[in-house]
Symmetry: C2
Subunit: 291 residues, 2 copies
Amino acid sequence: MDSVRTLARILSRIEDGDRDALKDLKPGTARVIGLTGAPGVGKSTVTGALTSQLRKAGQRVGVLAIDPSSPFSGGALLGDRVRMQQHATDDGVFIRSMASRGHLGGLAAVTPQAVRALDAHGFDVILIETVGVGQAEVEVAAQADSVLVLTAPGLGDAIQAAKAGILETADLFVVNKADKPEAQQTVRDLRNMLALGRWDGRWKPPVITTVGTDSTGIEEVAGKLSDHWNWLNESGELSRRRLNRARSEILAMAKGILENRIPGERLDELARSVADGSLDPFTAAGELTGA
Amino acid sequence: MDSVRTLARILSRIEDGDRDALKDLKPGTARVIGLTGAPGVGKSTVTGALTSQLRKAGQRVGVLAIDPSSPFSGGALLGDRVRMQQHATDDGVFIRSMASRGHLGGLAAVTPQAVRALDAHGFDVILIETVGVGQAEVEVAAQADSVLVLTAPGLGDAIQAAKAGILETADLFVVNKADKPEAQQTVRDLRNMLALGRWDGRWKPPVITTVGTDSTGIEEVAGKLSDHWNWLNESGELSRRRLNRARSEILAMAKGILENRIPGERLDELARSVADGSLDPFTAAGELTGA
């Protein structure tokens, strides 16, 4: 429990933008699974069921719940996660809702740092759960080794997903609430869309049906995630993804540092001159950055 | 015609990111109207009809067609604009499709610069036409003094618009293709949504129906745009909007300048160290920015 308390403290420091929070953390061996989907598809239920499944296999599981749309969500999200309460007394499960309170680089920076912290604390699997509503969430999903996109019948999600670019980031599609009659149509829609892609030498995302509330199909989900993990290692894709991730992470932070150096008051002065036409914006930007 | 050629040259330099393109341009007195909507609502038709209407009133009109989704649109967009061809021989109308070929700060920077160039060349009205599909387009619309959001019946646009935040940026709603039977439903949907807002002391966006192909309702659109222009001037909102715009414009450019200074090769090296766990990302970002 002491280790859990230390971890919780490190995550709070990360949220607060403490630059030393990650110092002296040794990398572990966790695989990172992103789980995303529109509101109402059953993300918490599936996350809970998948956590149980992984626990049965003896894996320590860390869950990060990220809500890009509400930077101050704090513990609020977690409150609803009734399904996760079954894991509340299990030392092998750590659950945390993450916010990005004015963090340098936003969620694009805060998520990989939290992943780093959990990895260093010896978790075998880290689940990043995000609400799938747009670009912010695609970015968060891109922090994972495997991305599971959750849909449910009758929500028109398949098309929404395609639009938001989620389709390209998915490694695994899960159609939850598969006991509903329209589920097979959703599966067909997804398979038809996937049939349009070219997969030679690439991983073709499987489409799996689940009923999260009674764990139907969850074992298959865990199995396909293992298959994907093996593929990532054998194909060399894991190193490529992690290098790209490190690159994005550093870049997001570096941009944050640079933007913080722009002096706000001087910007306001220059804006007035540009607005009244006495200064052109290039000269203003140049002056602001010492160019 | 010499002035037109000079203007075209300045716009090309802006697209190419030439920092001196705006030097020595004196501000004019143009009002800037943003016109946005989903594909298929009839943007080009309405832009053409509105241009004719403004010409009747003796106004010189500059049209900027911006396509945020395709940075290399170049003249392609313009090719389709059959309706605009009626203005091809009119010296009082200038039409240009804008791209943002790797421009410093992207479209958020390139659009206001083009507006600046047209303003300096004595146009009375500048129409910015963009495809309304998301955040990029909301940003472009934010460059205008008045934002006209165009919808058409049966596209489910009202709800789409609400989601994308377009609703909050609209000063005028135009339901085009009003000869279709479902048009009145679209008008009702929009009015119901507007009824939920609080407008004390603020401009409440009117909802106007048009048939762009025969110019029905276009005179009313021009009239309401004049009303909005008067309101902007009397309420002080015009100065506020233009100051905010200048601020965003400078900030976008300043960020672009700063990001360009991040050395790509060094970033790649640091990313490798972060990916293999030998370096933490904060230290890497710090080193990259000399922090």
